[in-house]
Symmetry: C2
Subunit: 409 residues, 2 copies
Amino acid sequence: MVKHIMERFDSLMPYREAVLIFDGVPWNLPDHDTVNIEDAAGKISACNVFSPVDIPDKNKAAMDGYAVKHLDTVNASDHNPARLDLAGVNMAGGTAGEPLKDGQCREIYTGSIMPEGADAVIKVEKCEQYGDHIYVYSPVMAGENVASIGEDLTRGSTILKDKSIVRPQNISSMTAAGIKSLKVYRNITIGIVNTGMELVTGQINNSTGSLLRSFYRMPFIDTLDGGIADDSIDSIMEKVSNLREKCNIIIATGGSSLGRKDLTTDAISRLGKMLFSGVSIKPGRTIALFNMDNIPVLSVSGLPVAALLSSLIFVNRYVHNAFGIELTERMPAILEERIHNKTGFTTFQAMDTFEKGGELHARPLETTASGRISSLLQGNSFTCIDENLEGIEEGTRIIINIIGDIRWE
Amino acid sequence: MVKHIMERFDSLMPYREAVLIFDGVPWNLPDHDTVNIEDAAGKISACNVFSPVDIPDKNKAAMDGYAVKHLDTVNASDHNPARLDLAGVNMAGGTAGEPLKDGQCREIYTGSIMPEGADAVIKVEKCEQYGDHIYVYSPVMAGENVASIGEDLTRGSTILKDKSIVRPQNISSMTAAGIKSLKVYRNITIGIVNTGMELVTGQINNSTGSLLRSFYRMPFIDTLDGGIADDSIDSIMEKVSNLREKCNIIIATGGSSLGRKDLTTDAISRLGKMLFSGVSIKPGRTIALFNMDNIPVLSVSGLPVAALLSSLIFVNRYVHNAFGIELTERMPAILEERIHNKTGFTTFQAMDTFEKGGELHARPLETTASGRISSLLQGNSFTCIDENLEGIEEGTRIIINIIGDIRWE
């Protein structure tokens, strides 16, 4: 057994190679559904959306005031105001009314349709009313305070791109354009099976399961608790098999360490093809990937942080490859303190990121003990260190992935 | 009527003064509930949480290998290996077993409890097994590959701070510590009433309502659609009153412009005390604030972007004052292009923010037409310009608020 284990792990696969292997598989994707646009918030769009109309669809007032022909005001001044005939009112929600004649103006409210012939709106504050006449004391320009046809959205302009996260501004624009439903991808479902007698007996609590379930639960991802398997091949096979029809991605935690007779990998090998086992990453080098009917099955460490950061690499690739979306927000930051790295390992380092003097700065947390949840509690982000680097020098610009609240000093 | 309107708006209240007035009211806050910790994800905590236990609670193996007394290995070398008696195995989920005697070792797996007397774990790869003996070729240090009591979380250490967003790492740590439920604030409920005959008649679609509802829907905020009121005092009063018992914040859109006889403000004045009306902000200067039984009622523009950005100031203050939380993520960025500002107005400017050369850069979108939803579609962020500034120069470090996907170049 000892010899077998050494063979499995003495040559870990480089990180980049593991990613290339993952990227090479035509993984299944979720189907799409057509949903009410307000239910689409935070989901991934499954089509481009172009505006079918001009918005506004008619010239409308952009201010409360008086609709005028600007030519009637060209010579207006304090001493020589333009005197216009007040010819009715265009209420919001009403029609354009009669066309405006030369020398006329009409009371109008923001959003009301402009009368034909009018080409500007004079603000209420710039006029005075005496009886049926409005006095205007300065000229207005053609188009002033008018929202003209297509000014906000031109017919044919892009409201939403295919394969992007649906934001409130997309929803609002679709509403404005009269679009009521949208084709979106169904949520990606990630099934999670935790293995280990120590979980079954309750000797330790399932903090790895609760980390993965709560981390991956996002507007466009559902997580499914596949239960706890004991340390037996049958139990692991059963729990993973149960998720087969329901999930797009499966993560099995524990039982993938050097010992325990590689229970998890042995079990999953009977359900799918092993693509790699053991990757030169820290934490989480024991990660293995299987292809089960084009569903990726990841066997990861039982330790929470290792399980999260190693699985995140591949869950993120899945989402990135399919949709061009990143699961964690990335930001540039300045490294506050040198980070050491063990060359040959691509390292995911917990960081504390904060704003100082108009820039983001990031400081590494303790570099040992990859399994310590405290590094994520004390930090708010992590960074990735290339396997070829012995470290990263203080002052270097790095990329951080945000998983908590950035501090403002 | 003209005169009345001019009085109302010719002296707009400065932004800072409006914020001070808002901050001075003891607004109602949501109650709290005790929920299952996994249901607490994204909610606001209503207590501090300290670890009631040490984690790990016993010394445990941090590697698969052999538990040893490190003193038995001090002279070990390739030529002179330490030969230890293999005395059983400590499986994960099992007990500490018999205390280890001098010269003994025990097979052990990651997470297993260390036997009494053992103080280090030798990796499998560094040993060889011949029958009942393990040969060790190099010394180990005391504590090597051992997760010692309290190493991850010390009893009494902070797992979660009061009034903070509950993150996956908090949930995982609580799980590890055996905590099953958590006191969190109930979701803040924001009720939204849209007014305007043009919405009732369907002449324009309710893009303002859909923007506010989808923007404010967050893990710790629920939105409640209060329906559409026509342009009558009774209708607006009825819709706003209906939300009274159900909401922590109410936003009424439309009917607050210079015209329309100030319907919304007249209606809400009958339900609560007006604290201000008209603030020197762009967009959204027509905003008014009312106190209705210590529920803030905001009367805002009917235009979507003005309604969102002006209401966001005060919704954000509500959340900030109560919990120290910001509704939008803020980041520092370098201004790519000068922004103009009309002095006397605090301006919220739509921006396009992108990463370039290890820093965030931001470029303003068209500065006119505050109501244009296209500025939010084309941008991904906004910035706030102080009323005393005539503009902000290119190259200045500014703060952006993120509402979309930051682009990476």
